[in-house]
């Protein structure tokens, strides 16, 4: 299977989805990323990225139950797929391998 390439923001959202395992939905992802990155992120960008990743097969979704909150709307939870995990792994491997090639000398002592 071809592993699709992912962009930086996609990677961050995918990581969050993976980290929050089965409990990730729009607002929780937004809150977590805002906390980590210390900048505000609009919910619409999260929605767009999630949509794109569903299309690519990196995540899959399911609906939660109806509650009194959220105007009675169900939450849509996202779970990372095997392909998504592979993409993260690949990304991580590439980064680490390149990182390891940095000569110590380059930073001076």
């Amino acid at each position: 299977m071809n592993i699709p390439s992912i962009g930086e923001f996609e990677e961050l959202v995918l990581l969050t989805v993976a980290a929050q395992h089965d409990e990730a939905y729009g607002v929780s992802i937004q809150a977590s990323l805002e906390g980590k990155l210390e900048k505000s992120i609009n919910i619409s960008s999260i929605h767009v990225v999630l949509k794109r990743m569903v299309d690519k097969g990196l995540v899959k979704s399911r609906y939660g139950g109806i509650t009194q909150d959220r105007g009675g709307r169900r939450k849509k939870f996202y779970v990372i797929t095997a392909l998504g995990k592979a993409a993260l792994d690949q990304q991580y491997a590439i980064r680490t391998s390149i990182y390891n090639q940095i000569p110590k000398i380059a930073f001076g002592e």
């Binding site: 729009g26 919910i43 909150d69 959220r70 105007g71 709307r73």
Partner: protein, 874 residues
């Protein structure tokens, strides 16, 4: 839950967002809003709206098109279904086809007729700038509008008004007592219509000069320009004509002229029809004394305005143009002899030809409008049949619609399906309709006196009518049928109620009432028009025009008229003969120059003036009330005069015979008084009139023996040919001339008869189908009723009463409407029928009878059906 997100933002989100994402997005936004609103409600609302706007991006916006993407397949599917439906329900298909094709054929015929009326005279290149100068002769209470103008007006206008590019005086063919002159070449004589025009005439109008130099053909008073048609008649070809010398005989314009050019014969959509053009100067020079007066009106005046100049400015300058000229020369005393001038667009003259007291008052345009409306109504009636049949039989389609909707068909695609069905029916009807038009066109042309042919320019209107009709007929059923709720119709036992509810039945009944109202209005119109035409044709005119031949005089006959008349009386079969200067159908002289004993200082009466031979009163059987008629001693009778009854009453003379009046400054002795007779059209009351003896006149009236008319006419012709050196024998029957006066009314009468028949036919067709449908649906009920002992009559009454009620309502609506229209139309006649109640009763009764017969065709069948047959199954 205290706070709600902003309503409109939420609505907007729900409107644009794809269903797949809406729940997730809305929920998340709502959650953010809830959190935010704990700190600041305003900020929360702002952020909510902002977030909604941020989501307005292609990824989430849904598709707004309801069209399926597989157009070709859907089209094939719908067409196939339509054909299957036509086959399955061939009865209602046939009724729709017949109704629509008849309606369309009527509409196309009327479209062609209206088109040809409207295009009259529009073909000139400068059409928008050609104006005719008209004249209002202002008299207290009765202003007369005429097209003749002073003979020096055109030149003065061209010289003095900067707006005028070209101006021409024209003596039209009908200025002459006999519009046909005679062209002679060697020993050939041919009748031809001649106009005398100024050279600018050819610059104003776009007549095509095919030979000769257009700037020179009318340069001098010897030139004559003739039509190609006339050239071919005289010389056999168009090449031999130039330079030939021709004899021309027509009143003042007679003489020998040289052919200086040829023009293409005017097309049939031109009101100006002529074969010969001569220089206006001939006419002007020969009548110079009158022509130089501003108070005299002979020629028509046409102008071509410069580009960019306005009619309003021109009219303002034109208004008192002739009056000012007259006043400058003659002073103010007789100023009322001169008219107030105004301009009329030349090509409007044909349709807007009627004036009432100086104001434009319709004319042919009213018939054009009338028939356009009738065409639309007839199409409407045909569309209503389609609408009623489709909605009445909706239950048959209910299952189909229900299933389609249940498996996901959108309303739009169902609407498409039904529209395609109506488009197909309309297209078939259009083909049939065109075939009908093709078959009927010769008869229609004969009826309307037109030369309409079918051409390619009909393609656009044909497509237009097809599309419009299919929408008119198909839109309501399509929207109605596609609006069914699938759950309701799939539960079989409630179909009747869901599908054919109270409101649709009301719509259907309303439409039937509308159809029959129109039919009844048309029937009443036919009855009224027919009776009025009967009145006109049989009205006692005050004279007897039976077997009276009117012979136009020319040549030797004109010069030696008295001899001719005396000789003519010896021809066997000729009962009487007399010269006559007019025609009894609108042509008569007129003057206010009469002074009588006891006249008040300012009192003026307009008198009609007929110039006649001495036997004229006897020939026409006009009743003499007092005194005597003229003798054949012209010299002795020169100072005598005869009045009609109205004239004597208008002047207030007691014991008139023997009294003296002054006419044009000459004393005249009243020798007789005749009873009133109609010397103009029946649109006008009989006016005061004097009859004077005059030796040389334009026409000879001949009373012949009705038993051997053809034989006598042949003998008169022989005698005429011999006497008049072979000039053509050109005669009409006087009663024919009279009929011709009411030609347009006759046409309206005949046309309205046909259209009324078509309207009632199509309406009845629709009623027939509706009745068939209702009866079919109530078969079980009828069966049970019969079993229970109901009589056949009772069942017929039960089934028919609904329809009869509708027709009765239609009659109630139609009666006042048609009463109003009939009054309007009749009020233009001075001699008219009174509207009596039985016109309306007759028409309503006829409609009721036709509707009743139509419905009973179906109901009788149902009533005599064996109840076993309709109750056995289920």
């Amino acid at each position: 839950m205290s706070l709600q997100p902003p309503k409109y933002s939420l609505k907007f989100l729900r409107w644009f967002c794809k269903d797949d994402y809406l729940e997730e997005i809305e929920g998340n936004l709502w959650e953010i809003f809830d959190v935010d609103s704990e700190t600041s409600p305003n900020r929360a609302r702002r952020r909510f709206t902002w977030n909604v706007i941020r989501h307005f991006r292609p990824a989430f916006i849904r598709s707004f098109s309801t069209e399926p993407t597989n157009y070709r397949d859907m089209l094939r599917h719908n067409t196939l279904l339509a054909f299957r439906n036509f086959k399955k329900y061939s009865g209602s298909f046939a009724i729709n086809l017949v109704g629509l094709s008849t309606g369309i054929a009527c509409a196309i015929l009327l479209y062609l007729w209206v088109g040809s009326e409207v295009s009259m005279d529009k073909f000139h290149e400068n059409d928008s700038r050609i104006f005719q100068v008209m004249q209002n002769l202002v008299r207290p209470g009765d202003t007369l509008t005429i097209s003749s103008t002073p003979g020096i007006l055109a030149d003065a206008l061209k010289e003095e008004l900067p707006e005028v590019e070209y101006a021409a005086s024209v003596i039209p063919t009908d200025w002459f007592e006999n519009p046909e002159g005679i062209v002679g070449y060697e020993d050939q004589f041919v009748q031809a219509k001649g106009q005398l025009v100024q050279p600018d005439y050819l610059k104003i109008f776009s007549w095509e000069i095919t030979q000769g130099n257009p700037d020179q053909v009318l340069a001098d008073r010897n030139s004559m320009v003739i039509s190609e048609e006339l050239a071919i008649k005289l010389f056999g070809s168009t090449d031999a004509a130039l330079g030939k010398a021709l004899q021309w005989d027509q009143g003042v314009s007679e003489g020998t002229y040289q052919v200086s050019g040829l023009f293409k014969t005017p097309p049939s959509n031109s009101t100006q029809q002529f074969d010969v053009l001569l220089n206006y100067d001939i006419f002007y020079q020969r009548r110079k004394e009158q022509m130089d007066k501003w108070s005299n009106s002979d020629p028509d005046t046409y102008v071509l305005l410069r580009e960019g100049s306005s009619k309003a400015d021109f009219d303002a300058k034109l208004k008192n143009f002739a009056r000012d000229k007259f006043e400058a020369i003659n002073g103010p005393e007789y100023l009322h002899y001169v008219g107030v001038l105004f301009s009329r667009k030349f090509s409007d003259g044909y349709l807007y030809n009627s004036y009432d007291n100086g104001q434009q008052a319709g004319g042919r345009i009213s018939y054009v409008k009338l028939f356009s409306v009738i065409a639309i109504f007839i199409l409407g009636i045909a569309c209503i049949n389609f609408i009623n049949l489709t909605t009445a039989r909706a239950s048959r389609r209910a299952k189909e619609i229900g299933v389609k909707k249940a498996i996901g068909a959108k309303r739009g695609s169902l609407v498409n399906q039904f529209l395609i069905e109506s488009l197909l029916v309309t297209a078939f009807s259009m083909v049939l309709g065109l075939v009908l038009v093709f078959i009927l066109l010769p008869a229609f042309n004969a009826l309307t006196g037109k030369a309409i042919s079918l051409g390619l320019d009909l393609i656009l209107p044909v497509i237009g009518i097809t599309v419009i009709v299919s929408f008119l007929a198909g839109l309501y059923p399509a929207i109605y049928l596609s609006g069914f709720k699938p759950v309701g119709i799939l539960k079989a036992n409630v179909i009747g109620k869901t599908v054919d509810g109270f409101s649709t039945q009301m719509v259907r009944k309303g439409l039937v009432v509308f159809q029959f109202s129109i039919s009844v209005v048309l029937i009443i119109a036919v009855v009224v028009v027919y009776n009025q035409m009967e009145l006109i044709q049989t009205k006692k005119l005050g004279y007897n025009d039976e077997n009276v031949v009117a012979l136009k005089s020319s040549g030797k006959l004109y010069d030696e008229m008295e001899t001719f008349v005396q000789e003519l009386k010896k021809v066997p079969g000729v009962i009487n003969a007399s010269p006559f200067g007019h025609d009894m159908v609108g042509d008569y002289g007129g003057t206010t120059g009469v002074a009588w004993p006891g006249q008040l200082p300012d009192e003026k009466i307009r008198f009609g003036n007929l110039e006649v031979g001495h036997d004229w009163i006897e020939l026409l059987d006009i009743e003499l009330l007092d005194g005597r008629t003229y003798t054949d001693n012209y010299l002795a009778e020169e100072d005598n005069i005869i009045f009609n009854k109205t004239a004597i009453e208008a002047m207030g003379l007691e014991d008139p015979v023997g009294q003296t009046v002054r006419i044009w400054g000459k004393d005249r002795l009243i020798i007789g008084v005749v009873d009133d007779f109609n010397f103009a059209s029946l649109y006008e009351d009989v006016a005061p009139l004097f009859i004077q003896l005059y030796p040389d006149l334009s026409t000879v009236l001949i009373k012949v023996d009705g038993q051997r008319t053809a034989e006598t006419l042949a003998q008169i012709e022989d005698f005429h040919t011999e006497f008049n050196d072979g000039l053509p024998f050109d005669y009409t029957f006087m009663d024919d001339d009279y009929q011709r006066l009411y030609e347009s009314e006759q046409r309206v009468s005949v046309l309205s008869r046909y259209f009324a028949v078509v309207a009632i036919l199509i309406s009845s067709l629709g009623l027939l189908a509706l009745a068939a449908f209702t009866t079919e649906r109530r078969q079980k009920e009828i069966g049970i009723r019969k079993v229970m002992g109901s009589s056949a009559i009772g069942i017929v009454a039960l089934l028919s009463s609904d329809f009869i009620k509708m027709v009765l309502i239609a009659i109630m609506i139609a009666t006042p409407i048609s009463y109003w229209f009939a009054e309007e139309w009749l009020s233009s006649f001075a001699f008219r029928i009174d509207l009596s109640w039985w016109y309306f009763a007759l028409s309503g009764g006829a409609a009721l009878l036709i509707a009743g017969l139509t419905v009973s065709l179906q109901t009788l069948k149902a009533a005599f059906l064996n109840p076993v047959l309709c109750l056995k199954d289920e």
